[in-house]
């Protein structure tokens, strides 16, 4: 046995060595491959030249060595030796002479001539088409050297109906395969890919879309090969191309395949799965005779419906079955490959076989060149020859083959796989002029490694024009849109304001008139304007209640107004406070506003003394915190909420507040406020507690709060007993009480101001009315109103 060449370092090792003694690389794969040494890439498009070194020549089998010798001979033009009828007829590229066909092939052809004799023949024969002949012709070359066990394959096929066993699990007879699409998917894809990549002028060995001529059929039936066909076969350029298509590493590493090396040459070359069938050959096993004749692995295979479905090809032609001996005799690894291919590509798997366009779409292959270049590295040697021959024939397959799914490479085969099959192609068919590698796994390959680095060829990408082709209409639209946007984005100039506008003049004029009127009234101080003659009932009620107070009666007075309206409320409340003081009521001053206590002190100590009134009978308890909650607490227990006065004196223990336990114990509750919300809070939180002892609550409110507070007076029963609202209410109260105070001093000025306001309102309304009468509506407005 010859030395084994290490696939990694390329050095020879003694036979039987599993690990290279030079580079420690594993020579013998861990997984025993029945097709030992396979793994070559049978890509027809690859430019690989056979290694003509003596070592390589010695390691090649005889049949391959013969093929190479023939390859050196010039290929004759097949048309020259064609008979006339053949030249007229459409060429049958795949048809070849069967003069050297073995017996098994002759028997197969005989069976094809009588497809109606048996049911099995309906499965394998093509009665209307001689595609099988093409295939058989393609198999003639390796068949010449086929061993006996392989020769028996043909004889056993017609007697059996194997496809009915595993192609039709439900025992239904398979339809007669007569079309090209009846071939197995993987074979169809291989052929289609090879058709695409094989030059059209290549020698054709098979033609699947052209029917053979009648003469060819007759010659085939007779088992004889006409002379023209023999001469047609003699040049046989296909093996040469096949050998060329195989890379050197494959030629070196590929061991004898079942097709290329007879079985009797060495039993050690026969894989394990083939050994038990050595006597009869794995392809001569009659698989359809009965279930007993089916081997165990085939029984399992047939029992698996999925596997059967994977191989189920209802239109399968008979040409493939005898060529491969029966698919049920396929080794397990091939069965798994095909079954996995039917399941679709798995992530991370290496696409091995030829990929169709639809398969490529599912396979993550970013490189287009790698997609178009089929990877036949996973195809065993004997199987790669078939498509290689067919590709060499360059038969134009009419029907596109689809449905081929990628399979996985065995790990050992993946390890032996050349870089060119997995990586983007380095050497194209045009690179054959490059230097041949002399060592390593790339030994014999030419143009694989670039002579210069890749980056030398790098250049700047071509600059393409990105100028848009815009029509005139589009340009017009763009201009219109641009003009619109330009007007939107442009800042509008702010028109300068005149120093004095008409509105400002009007406002100033009104203010001047009003101020002059008020100042005139104050300056004159004539007190000509009479006080209200008929005081309103709510004012009279307040006066009546105060008059009914006992002397030194505790009166709770809430100063809940803000400084902004103190001018009004000071004048309004002073009249009532003056009346209370005259009744010698004890004033208990509180406030829910932080400013209230100070305003109360200001009124008591500053304003009323200016009117000649001194108030001493009072206490200022200060601020009630908490808003409505504080009011509720004050109504329940005033002592606890306000235990001390502003001076820090505990006034609740002395008279007259000693008897006050709740707010109802006060003789009267008076609220002075300008805010209707504050008045409502007092009414809602405190007034209900006053009902226990019928304690009156009166309001001294601003004129602006009167409309909101009056409903509480108008209710029946009244929630507030009396109300003095604004300066008119105070004037009415002074009228009722007969006392003069701040209100009387303000009353003329107030009247003047009201008069000015009335005049201005009337004048403005009149002017507006006149202008509206003379004004003519604009046409647009007139249309809008219709």
């Amino acid at each position: 046995m010859a030395d084994i060449r290490c696939p990694m370092c390329g050095k020879n090792n003694p036979a039987g060595t599993e690990v290279c003694k030079y580079c420690q690389a594993r020579i013998k794969p861990l997984v025993v491959n029945p097709l030992d040494g396979d793994g070559g890439s049978g890509q027809p498009g690859k430019s690989s030249q056979p290694n003509n070194t003596p070592d390589h020549e010695s390691s090649l089998p005889d049949w391959l060595r013969d093929l190479r010798q023939r390859d050196d001979e010039p290929a004759p033009d097949p048309t020259e030796k064609m008979p006339e009828w053949m030249q007229d007829e459409p060429q049958v590229p795949g048809f070849s002479s069967d003069g050297d066909a073995p017996d098994w092939l002759s028997r197969i052809r005989k069976q094809e001539d009588a497809p109606e004799e048996s049911e099995a023949e309906s499965d394998f024969s093509a009665p209307e088409k001689d595609d099988s002949q093409d295939f058989l012709a393609a198999e003639e070359k390796p068949g010449q050297d086929l061993p006996d066990w392989l020769s028996q394959l043909g004889s056993s096929e017609p007697e059996s109906k194997p496809e009915a066993a595993w192609d039709q699990p439900d025992e239904e007879p398979a339809p007669a395969p007569a079309e090209e699409g009846d071939q197995p998917d993987w074979l169809q894809r291989i052929r289609s890919r090879q058709k695409e990549e094989t030059p059209p002028d290549a020698f054709l060995f098979s033609s699947e879309d052209e029917e053979p001529s009648a003469q060819a059929a007759e010659a085939t039936e007779a088992g004889e090969t006409p002379d023209w066909l023999s001469s047609f076969q003699t040049p046989e350029p296909a093996p040469a191309e096949k050998a060329d298509s195989l890379p050197d590493w494959l030629n070196q590493q590929a061991g004898p395949s079942p097709f290329s090396e007879p079985v009797n040459e060495g039993e050690e070359e026969v894989p394990d799965w083939l050994s038990p069938k050595a006597e009869s050959g794995p392809f001569s096993q009659p698989v359809s005779e009965s279930e007993e004749g089916v081997p165990d692995w085939l029984s399992k295979f047939g029992g698996q419906e999925a596997g059967a479905a994977a191989f189920a090809a209802p239109e399968e032609t008979d040409e493939t079955k005898p060529a491969f001996g029966e698919e049920e005799n396929l080794p397990d690894w091939l069965t798994r490959l095909d079954s996995s291919a039917t399941e679709g590509p798995r992530s991370g798997s290496v696409p091995a076989l030829i990929l169709d366009e639809e398969d490529l779409s599912e396979t993550p292959e970013p490189d287009k060149s790698s997609i178009e270049t089929p990877d036949l590295s996973s195809v065993p040697d004997w199987l790669s020859q078939v498509p290689a021959d067919e590709a060499a024939s360059g038969a134009a397959a009419g029907d596109s083959e689809a449905g081929l799914a990628p399979a996985e490479l065995p790990s050992w085969l993946e390890a032996m796989r050349p870089v060119e099959s997995a990586a983007p192609l380095v050497g194209s068919p045009e690179d054959t002029s490059g230097p041949a590698e002399k060592a390593g796994p790339l030994a014999g390959l030419r143009g694989v490694l670039p002579a210069e680095p890749e980056f030398v060829n790098l250049r700047k990408p071509q600059v393409y024009s990105i100028k848009l082709q815009v029509s005139e209409a589009q340009q017009a639209h763009i201009a219109l849109l641009d003009s619109l946007l330009e007007t939107e984005a442009a800042a509008k100039p702010v028109q300068g304001k005149p120093a004095l506008m008409s509105q400002q003049l009007l406002r100033l004029g009104i203010a001047v008139v009003l101020i002059l009127a008020v100042l005139t009234a104050l300056f004159l101080n004539q007190q000509q304007l009479p006080l209200p003659a008929n005081p309103p009932p709510e004012v009279q009620n307040v006066s009546t209640l105060i008059n009914s107070l006992a002397e030194n009666a505790p009166v709770l007075v809430a100063f809940d107004y803000e400084p902004g309206l103190s001018g009004e409320l000071d004048a309004t409340s002073s009249a009532v406070i003056q009346h209370l003081t005259a009744r010698n009521a004890y004033l208990t001053l509180v406030s829910t506003s932080p400013n209230g206590p100070l305003l109360a002190e200001r009124l008591i100590t500053h304003i009323l003394p200016q009117q000649g009134l001194t108030v001493t009978n009072y206490t200022n308890l200060g601020f009630i915190s908490g808003g409505p909650t504080g009011l509720l607490a004050l109504a329940e227990n005033p002592k606890k909420v306000l235990p001390y006065s502003l001076n820090g004196v505990m006034v609740w223990e002395g008279l007259p507040l000693s008897g006050v336990q709740s707010v109802a114990d006060f003789a009267m509750v008076m609220v002075i406020t300008e805010n209707p919300e504050t008045a409502r809070a007092w009414i809602e939180q405190v007034q209900p507690f006053l009902q226990e002892k019928n304690t009156p609550m009166v309001m001294v409110v601003s004129a602006q709060a009167e409309p909101m507070v009056r409903p509480y007076y108008e209710t029946s029963p009244r929630q507030i007993s009396g109300m003095v609202a604004g300066l008119p209410g105070a004037a009415a109260y002074e009228k009722v009480t007969g006392r003069t105070g701040i209100t009387r001093h303000y009353w003329d000025a107030y009247g003047a101001g009201i008069l000015v306001a009335v005049v201005i309102i009337l004048a403005g309304s009149l002017i507006n009315f006149v202008l509206a009468g003379f004004a003519h509506p604009k046409p647009a407005e007139a249309e809008g109103t219709l």
Binding site: R507, L508, A511, L514, I515, V518, L519, L522, F523, P563, G564, L565, S566, G567, E568, D570, A571, P594, N595, P597, L598, G622, F623, S625, G626, P628, T629, L632, V641, P643, Y644, S645, L646, G648, R680, A681, I683, E684, Q685, Q687, P688, S702, A703, Q704, P707, P711, Y712, E714, T715, S716, Q719, G726, L727, H745, Y746, A749, Y750, G753, I754, A757
Partner: protein, 233 residues
């Protein structure tokens, strides 16, 4: 000028005069003098409130009762610590969430108080008052003329109904027609619009009256302050 005349009242009055003039400058539009015066008032008011709250609340309602009546500590100290806790937590934004429960209690108590007072102090009494508009016995008790009483009741009833109709915006969709309320509701709404206009007029009159009184008080103060210097004796 006699310095003896610079009494506190005079100084206060003069400052008040200046500030009043600055506020009246708003007649010429918003200006810096008006804004300065507004900011001054806001700042003074805030400072004054802080002082009042410290003396009137913290001292008078917390410190003094605790000192003078130690027995009341049990009732005051919890409020003190709760207030202190609320103050501390609300000072820092990171601790603000720890004061939320206490703040929630305060807001909830205030809301309950306000709602209860509104329902029992305003809603129910006002609804009852509207129902007694035509109570002739009440007119006798109020010594009111019966005709006046009835006319007033009718006006209040019409004003209430029409005002409510004006604020009725509900419509019923009809095919191929604009979604509009019924015609009779629209008629009532227009009558209610008159009552609303009268109400707004009254409110405006009240506001004008209050403002006019305030103006009179300001001008009177200025007149008293500047009169002896401007007017011949």
């Amino acid at each position: 000028m006699n310095l003896s005349a610079l009494s506190p009242d005079f100084i206060g009055g003069f400052v008040g005069f200046i500030l009043t003039v600055l506020v009246l400058s708003y007649l010429f539009g918003d200006n810096a003098m008006f804004r300065f015066t507004s900011h001054l008032f806001i700042g003074v008011a805030a400072g004054f409130v802080a002082v009042v709250v410290f003396y009137n609340v913290i001292l008078n309602q917390l410190v003094f009762p605790t000192i003078q009546n130690p027995g009341s500590t049990n009732a005051i100290l919890p409020a003190f610590f709760l207030g202190l806790w609320l103050f501390i937590t609300k000072v820092s934004p990171r601790l603000s969430r720890f004061g939320n429960p206490l703040m929630g209690y305060l807001v909830g108590a205030a809301a309950a108080t306000a709602i209860g007072g509104a329902v029992f102090g305003t809603v129910f009494p006002q609804v009852g008052a509207s129902g007694g508009l035509f109570d002739t016995q009440a007119a006798g008790q109020e010594n009111q003329n019966l005709i006046y009483w009835l006319v007033r009741g009718v006006l209040i009833l019409i004003g209430t109904i029409t005002t409510l109709a004006f604020f009725h915006f509900g419509t019923r969709p009809r095919p191929d027609q604009l979604a509009r309320p019924p015609a009779w509701i629209e008629g009532l709404g227009k009558a209610g619009q008159i009552f609303i206009m009268i109400t707004f007029g009254v409110l405006f009159a009240g506001v004008y009256s209050a403002a006019l009184t305030a103006l009179i008080e300001r001008l009177n103060t200025l007149f008293i302050l500047l009169g002896p210097y401007l007017l011949p004796q």
